[in-house]
Symmetry: C2
Subunit: 982 residues, 2 copies
Amino acid sequence: MSNPMVSSLLNKLANYTNLTQGVTEHEEYENEEGVTKIRVKSPQMGTFIGVYLPCMQNILGVILFLRLTWIVGTAGILESFAIVVMCCTCTMLTAISMSAIATNGVVPAGGSYYMISRSLGPEFGGAVGLCFYLGTTFAGSMYILGTIEILLVRIKHCLAMLNNMRVYGTCCLALMALVVFVGVKYVNKLALVFLACVVLSIMAIYAGVIKTVIEPPDFPICLLGNRSLQNHNFEKCVKTEVIKNVTYTTKLWELFCDSRHLNATCDEYFTLNNVTEIQGIPGLLSGVIKGQWSNKTNFSNNCCVVIKLSDSVSEDTYCRVMDSTSTCVCIPFNCVCFRYRFGDSVKKNLVIGTLAWPSPWVIVIGSFFSCCGAGLQSLTGAPRLLQAIARDGIVPFLQVFGHGKANGEPTWALLMTAGICEIGILIASLDAVAPILSINGMFYPVSCVQFFLMCYLFVNLACAVQTLLRTPNWRPRFKFYHWTLSFLGMSLCVSLMFISSWYYALVAMSIAGCIYKYIEYRGAEKEWGDGIRGLSLNAARYALIRLEEVQPHTKNWRPQLLVLLKLDSDLGVKHPRLLSFTTQLKAGKGLTIVSSVLEGTYMTLGAEAKSAEQNVKSAMHAERTKGFCHVVVSSNLRDGFSHLIQSAGLGGMKHNAVLMAWPGAWKQAEDSYPWKNFIETVRETTSAHQALLVAKNIDKFPSSEDRLGEGTIDVWWIVHDGGLLMLLPFLLRQHKVWRKCKMRIFTVAQMDDNSIQMKKDLQMFLYHLRLNAVVEVVEMHDSDIAAFTYEKTLVMEQRSQMLKQMQLSRNEREREIQSITDESRISIKRKKSSVVETLKAPNTLQVPSLSISRDMDEESHGNLNDNAPATPDHRVHMTWTKDKLITERNRNRSEPNVGVKDLFNMKPNQSNVRRMHTAVKLNEVVVNKSQGAQLVLLNMPGPPKTKGGDENYMEFLEVLMDGLDRVLLVRGGGREVITIYS
Amino acid sequence: MSNPMVSSLLNKLANYTNLTQGVTEHEEYENEEGVTKIRVKSPQMGTFIGVYLPCMQNILGVILFLRLTWIVGTAGILESFAIVVMCCTCTMLTAISMSAIATNGVVPAGGSYYMISRSLGPEFGGAVGLCFYLGTTFAGSMYILGTIEILLVRIKHCLAMLNNMRVYGTCCLALMALVVFVGVKYVNKLALVFLACVVLSIMAIYAGVIKTVIEPPDFPICLLGNRSLQNHNFEKCVKTEVIKNVTYTTKLWELFCDSRHLNATCDEYFTLNNVTEIQGIPGLLSGVIKGQWSNKTNFSNNCCVVIKLSDSVSEDTYCRVMDSTSTCVCIPFNCVCFRYRFGDSVKKNLVIGTLAWPSPWVIVIGSFFSCCGAGLQSLTGAPRLLQAIARDGIVPFLQVFGHGKANGEPTWALLMTAGICEIGILIASLDAVAPILSINGMFYPVSCVQFFLMCYLFVNLACAVQTLLRTPNWRPRFKFYHWTLSFLGMSLCVSLMFISSWYYALVAMSIAGCIYKYIEYRGAEKEWGDGIRGLSLNAARYALIRLEEVQPHTKNWRPQLLVLLKLDSDLGVKHPRLLSFTTQLKAGKGLTIVSSVLEGTYMTLGAEAKSAEQNVKSAMHAERTKGFCHVVVSSNLRDGFSHLIQSAGLGGMKHNAVLMAWPGAWKQAEDSYPWKNFIETVRETTSAHQALLVAKNIDKFPSSEDRLGEGTIDVWWIVHDGGLLMLLPFLLRQHKVWRKCKMRIFTVAQMDDNSIQMKKDLQMFLYHLRLNAVVEVVEMHDSDIAAFTYEKTLVMEQRSQMLKQMQLSRNEREREIQSITDESRISIKRKKSSVVETLKAPNTLQVPSLSISRDMDEESHGNLNDNAPATPDHRVHMTWTKDKLITERNRNRSEPNVGVKDLFNMKPNQSNVRRMHTAVKLNEVVVNKSQGAQLVLLNMPGPPKTKGGDENYMEFLEVLMDGLDRVLLVRGGGREVITIYS
């Protein structure tokens, strides 16, 4: 650092390289520490020369100047200016994003690939990196071809030798590869020379343009209509000549017509248009620039500023008018442009050469060196990129390219790159393929641009994502970035991709997409801390918070299960069929939380909890249950389960139903704890307004591999408890296991019901629910069923009401609803706990569904929850005829003591007898009808209020399910879960 | 239903209407019930005639036939066929999606608007619905203009009267609106008549086309180059005439040139091209169809199949050649086509009329009725749609249009629609605006098509979303749908939008986007159970499950806080500043779970828990803490907190740090429970590998409204515990409160440290961490600090090591790492619990960071967690020189009993003295340096192993923090949280 400023700058420029090399500024510290320690001295550059300039030069060279004059030629000066501004902005913004990422910690080899892969994950990084690699490599082919073409055509003037392009190209490639292999430092030293050549060429051309003011060049071009003709194969630019009063046809005529005669059949375009000769290079003062300002206004002038040369007749001497879009050669300060294979030479002169000042040779030699240098740089940069990708091991078959020579030179990668380059050379000079590949002669440049732009796009994306996520690790030293800038850069990259060629853009994107998918499926899983993870976590958090705000609509209701598992002494899952059943019920959708509890303290049982969680997870994996798993340690099981029921899930993702196994051996067990725990759990789900599913004989349930061929799922719809009972068979039948099972729905008619009408109503109800089921109505004596239903009299009554509603016309229904609404408004004033809530607006109705403040007894006994704020669970709507409502209310009033009694706490034996009578009678009917069913679904009555009746309750359920094989007791969560509305 | 099949079908056809009316099939049930009940009898149709046919006719009429011949003219038969197939497919697929949605429950008024809004939410529904409304209304304007033009130009032949278009158009509109207002049923009856007219017109034209085979019509057209000239203003189709050997110019010449003379200056296009006369209607046998197969091959034939009429010279008699895209009139079975204002008439004859058989009048009258009918239908349908949208109340300012007449007729909406229609009429006939609006004369049709296609797009989207989500409520009776079909339909809709006009497509989309945003911000919040909610829940679930699989990378680490709150006796938040501090620390990002515990059972305290949760939520809202809230009821507090620490969060979204307040009054309290609970919580977070933040004097912390102007955040980096200590000030400074505070970092040098070098190293370390901080090294005697650090000797030693590593060059570092890797491979074999883990690959390093199997004593005492599977938390990498490693290891071996003792359990008083000595000495230094700091961050030592030392531990911490105002004790979670790598 003791050198004078200028010489140090020069030294830096000499070491200046265009290679992607990441940030090297942190290495400056090494200098301060003393050079003795550093054995391999690498070039040291500041941020500006080391990072910013190469980026800029790369971007400018490829995108901006590459197509600048072509753009001016086709789009006019004004639009071109807009495009150039876009390109510059894009460049600047990308450079800003890149600077931010590069200064956010150490960036090892790989440059933009490293940045993208570490910010957006291996898939994006690999896809974009490989595309970038391909782009660089193909650019190499292009440069080599350019070099050869300049050498042969311009310098040696041997057009004929072009057929040996492949041979010369291969030689040139081999030579360049050797140079790169032998010493990268020579390439780096040459870079400055090459840069100077480019600058000189540009200057020569602009000098020539200015010269046209003083001395316009003579460069005639023949136009047919508004299309230019290539002057290879004819001499005079006229259709016919009149020599001595006789009209002769010209050579041009012969090209377009089938004979020399004047009455020959000619090409239609030839016939319809006149032939004119104009000045190919009109010069600055000719006014062509003025006409060029906006291309739209001037349909015949869409050509370059100073060079008028439209799509020419191709070299095979027959008139093949290409498409109507005129193309122009551009000023060849960058040899890319030479890929207009013949478009750029008129009368075997290099168009641009005639323009350059002082000599056409400036251009020729300048462009030769430029091409040559760019080729070398491609061959240096591409292998290093490939090596970086290969070393990361994300693409298995690329592994070998990670190796290098002792000094780290990527030998294998260089060979690979040279190979691809060679393919590029062979293909491009293949006569048959060339016209296809080089549509408008722009195959290589456009595809390179696409790949490079894609890379910039993702650099911007990476910066935007990181900034928006605000990960604590995102602390770039470069402060002048903002996500809006990156976002703008992204949009510009996409726009430029599609502006330059929407077709190639799509192709490039699909190539990148394929690589992405390949890496996703085949690549090694890498955790590099990419932002995508943070993005999805953020999205998830946002969704959970937002969804917590609103109660889900009935239409969106789906069972979100909390599965309460028991573990055996080895911490294994006791009833794995519970998980099978969960899988069958959920078919992979919605929330599933599988949970269990260990007794003890976390400090001592932490490890056990972990291994239990692993066991549960592997059981879940085996049963294909997709969901979350919690095994918690609690000082007692009851607290643990209580806690899970209360607080499992997060935000908008909470369970709304609990699934557990029926404690089959509760009678035999010495310890009363398990079944007491069971009843407490039932109570708890009830207070938490969660639905409850209890499976009897869970071990006899089918595994997920079974396919139940025949049989039925029988629903016993005795009381209407939200509709879950009807929904469950539908859900089960989505799974392969139950697909072939038919759904049957049984309902119990009391003596005062018209059972034929009831059946008809139920059928219609099911039609409106879009459920396919066989309907059967079973008649029972009121006394037989009373014990089961009397705590839910209103619920059962409403079931009938709901069916009857179906008979009414839609218009009537609406009017009914209106009257109920009015009615309920009044009734609310009269009676605080109104059965029917106000219906909000006639057309947002969700009828017919029922509202009922849960169990009858809750209302009268004065539930402890009464002072809780009215939860939206209760806010379900119903249809009810006015008179029915009044009748119902009167009825409730007239028998205040019957409806409110807690059956299981009845003291006298008589109640026990009555209860058992009901259970036995109902069980008789159910067994009679559903003995052979694959699954029986039954309403589950509510648990007794006080613990005294617990054993009776268990007994009741036991008798109810007696003799049935697979039973699912279902208790609703206090809300409607099914609706007839779309 | 007793009528014979045919008559019932006819009846249905008579009642057939094109109005958007949703599903009416469910009303069929009303018939069966008896007509007496039904007062307003609405037309009854089956699914096919009621749903499928109107949809098809609407789609076909607007999209398909509207532009068919125009498409054939411009694109050629082959491409047109492709487009027609696309349209048909799109139509069919949309109809399928619509059928699925419509049969998934009752769809009231609003049709596709209702479907979209109920499936995708009010924003999408409103945006698309209003666009659809606008489309329908503008179609109305278009039809009315067509009607007038036919009446005036075709029937009355008064071209001059066209200036009064506005007057006539308004009259026509008023008349039609009146008809609609008076009786919709007449419109419905007329619909069939109009349909018949369209069919007849089509038949007449095709008959005419066939007639050309027998008798080709004489219809000469003058072409200039390949553009047709309108034959109004000249008679002969030649440039010059030779009459008696003298060449005269023609009238045509005058139109293009500035004088009659042969040497006049003429339009360039005129000069360059010849004039020819061709047959305008070449007839079927002329071979023009063959040439038309693919338009690409034949540049001069881009015209209609049988009518050759390109873009004509406009009526102002001067040659304004439009753009080069030739347009053609299409067969006018739908009057839309007449909007080619003059393009369709040549020599004042209707082109298509000359073709029609038997008489041109069939076409004129047919198209008149067709236009008229279509106008009426638009005026009937649009207001009903507007009414449906208004009634939903999603767009506040549209409320008034929800009202209607007594019979439900949308009077206000009709007025509004007529108003918009009138604007359309006025604008379209404005001479100045017309050319702009009617680019290619296609403004109205194209914009309508865009809006309609957008609607279909969203119908398909709705079906696809619902199908993919598999909500239990999605049970359409129509079974022949699939999400791939809907998806294909969507893609086709988008493609067609862009094919018909990408420009209009973007405009239509941005209009819809604006309405969407408006409804999002201003509209009433509606919960219609849309699928978007389900979609985001699904995405969240997927993200949580996927993210659970991998441990987050150090780069992605951010504090995910579990805040343990205390509640006062009124269930309010005791220390709201804890929430303020959370907000300041998180700046709205990442997970925050705020939790508290109530003592009791859920059945009795459920309501209290709910209200406590409400209190916490409102406190969180007040403090702007974004996050989740859990208040759980537990039989004892300890279990509750333990449970929260174990199982709060879900899947990949779990907390990794616990924040709590220091129990300030622990000494004064009679009950030892609170501080014992505190220590247990510390122990529990340690076993759960979670970081712990304890805030002393939390009530003195700044509120989120405060702005700390000056001052510092002081970090006392005594031992390296994962880097959290350094990260926290950075995070705090992101928030406005702490933004102006400077970060200072203090480190304690022991006597054998080179404190100058240490400072330098630390500065470099911070530079690499991209943290701005003032560094200060405090020297202390080993004995003074011993008690604090000796349980963490290695941790402290590693801190120094880490700093020294920074001095090494990158190259050296890499070599070092390699040697460590090798070393550690060997050491693992020798010693099971190796301090340094294997580094995976040289370039995926995450160095320099430390690995330490938590506290020293854990290792030697044999922690109970030892048999737990090695969690990835421990898998952190470090750099270490080979010799240092060996030295360190030897040192550990030589003093096995000093490092392992549990300080707080030392029996003799001497240890108590020593401990207190350390605390006092350290406190002295800290108070001395950081007395005025806004916040002091200190390492928190680990809790004693056994409960005996609990009180000593509390005492130690108390003394350590004595005299400091705001202190945050920080204990790492056992993993690195900060890295120098990008």
